[in-house]
Symmetry: C2
Subunit: 401 residues, 2 copies
Amino acid sequence: MQSYEFLLVIAIILLSTKLLGLISERVHMPQVVGALLAGIILGPSVLGLVEETDFLLKTSEIGVIILMFMAGLDTDLDELKKTGLASFVIALCGVLVPLAAGTGLFYVFFPDAGDPLHFLKALFIGVVLTATSVSITVETLREMGKLKGKVGTAILGAAIIDDIMGIIVLTVVSGMTDPSVKISAVLLRIVAFFVLLGVVGFVMHKLFSQLSSTWHQHRRIAIYGFSFCLILSFVAEHYFGIADITGAYFAGLILCNIMEAREYINKKMTVLGYMIFSPIFFASIGIKTELSGLTGSLIIFSAALLLVAIVTKIIGCGLGAKLMGFSLQDSFSVGLGMVSRGEVALIVAQKGAQAGLIDSHLFPPIVLVVIVTTLITPILLKMFMKDGSDESAVALKTTHI
Amino acid sequence: MQSYEFLLVIAIILLSTKLLGLISERVHMPQVVGALLAGIILGPSVLGLVEETDFLLKTSEIGVIILMFMAGLDTDLDELKKTGLASFVIALCGVLVPLAAGTGLFYVFFPDAGDPLHFLKALFIGVVLTATSVSITVETLREMGKLKGKVGTAILGAAIIDDIMGIIVLTVVSGMTDPSVKISAVLLRIVAFFVLLGVVGFVMHKLFSQLSSTWHQHRRIAIYGFSFCLILSFVAEHYFGIADITGAYFAGLILCNIMEAREYINKKMTVLGYMIFSPIFFASIGIKTELSGLTGSLIIFSAALLLVAIVTKIIGCGLGAKLMGFSLQDSFSVGLGMVSRGEVALIVAQKGAQAGLIDSHLFPPIVLVVIVTTLITPILLKMFMKDGSDESAVALKTTHI
């Protein structure tokens, strides 16, 4: 007789993430904050009710693949072309400054003790800090009524490019974990993967365009789309040593400008996400977060990491905006808008842990950064960005839970 | 580093069940037949590409829970009250005759060799034969334009009651597997479970009625509904030794006449089902089906089981209809309409296997019965039921894949 406890575990995760998500929403925070807290409460830090199992590991992996697939699908390529260069420079500075500062901070707190992976571990803290959360940025701007202004468009474009850069940096860094592998081999693998992406992307784009114009079977297209995403995720990991989420993200990107298919697939993936897989993913991060280890120097490290996370995004992105001719006030607003981290930082941290580059005691500081930056971005933006509004205020909420 | 093969396995299952499902549909069979064939082809019988893992076992369990939850949600209690007694008698005869004949057939082919579970194993073959598939019956009748006639209404009602009876018989029989447990204890547990159902049903009905009238948050209600279903499934198994699917079915039944909630939940569960869980469930049955064992006497047993499955439903249900005053022609039509087995027979067989009551070499005959009865029901009905039509012909298809 098999055990049926996993049914209860799923129900507990669904109900607690929803409950705490709703409370978060009530106090004007994204629901993802509540879902993380639910995981922390269920996990070993507080109640110890739920522990990690192979089943939870796999379902939460499907959860993050769905999230990244949808992020790819949501990408607005036209928007990206319009804001183009300005967004690129903003994103680039907004990636490089936190990357360097995060790496440096790790060295300050954890001096090299001969660990061959030490540099990569330091670099990975930097990588975690690079990721701006597109969804939180967009939702904050929408609530502010600033989504379509000059600053809003620049932020939106930069957030998208930031995501792509973050994924590439993640891929490069995690590809270097095996010390026997040369960096040139890693880069070659990445190039090979992108060549494959080009070919597969061309074929799949044709195929899905045809599918969505000749058939009116939404289900079928959604199933094909999801299968494509799963296969590309597997191929990325298995044959190229590239994170599965990179595959999922690019699967979404390949399909994102086939309007009909994109819409069907997104709708179904959204249901699949919030009904079961996303709550399990977010809760499982909380479950992994062992707060009892948060003592002494680690608390100081957390505070320092948080400060670096906020300041470097404002400086990096603000600098980028200033370079591209924005006013000082607008540059500052752009920087503020890019502060919020979110799913992506957690996803990157998760990947780092899987690759052995983030020790479990570093999870609490990272979760803290995600929660606090997510919290203060709307507050900071409301304080420092006061003019005009192109939309009425809409309650801040994420679409993933 | 964990293995990512499960991503590929899911994609292969999704694509192959869809492909073979579409081919089935093209030749006017339900898609479930194709999904079963896909599983057989992927499994050890043909390609040996996919093997059973803990992850597949758990996801397919969620799949069957979702299917039974939806079957409960789909129940039309008003319809049931209308056709009432006639349907009840038809269903009862349609359960008792196949149950007795199936049990007898097992004894003919497999004489008792001192196995303490022998009688239960025989009885379980009977239980498998009791289950009429509501969805296949309804869809066949809809296609025929007979859903709202006298015969159609009686069949529909009987199919619903048949489902409930099948579940109860399943519960009783699987409750008796442990030889140290007395049958009175089993019955007591079942009574206790139904008392709990009454209390929980009353409370949950109130709660969900209020939820769906005061809130307009479809997601939230769907998540609560799904969680309720998972918890009741767990409680049934864990505390009462009653099949989890019984819990899922009654969770659906409790919510089925709260129209708004029912609609939201059903919609979301449908997506969850066809996008991932149902294909995995149906494929996993095919994967379990070891066709290489189908030799000699087992082939003869398969043919006999099939014959018994068809004849006993026609005789049992026809007799019931005749007793309730239907004409001979109409009684025959009612019997024909109840021949099709489907998901439920497979679900019952699966449960029997888990309880150690169905040996794996008996899977192929059962799958054969499901496929053939599913195939011939529309054909038989079209041949023998020729008058009037209340709807235009609608292509035969199931909603679960």
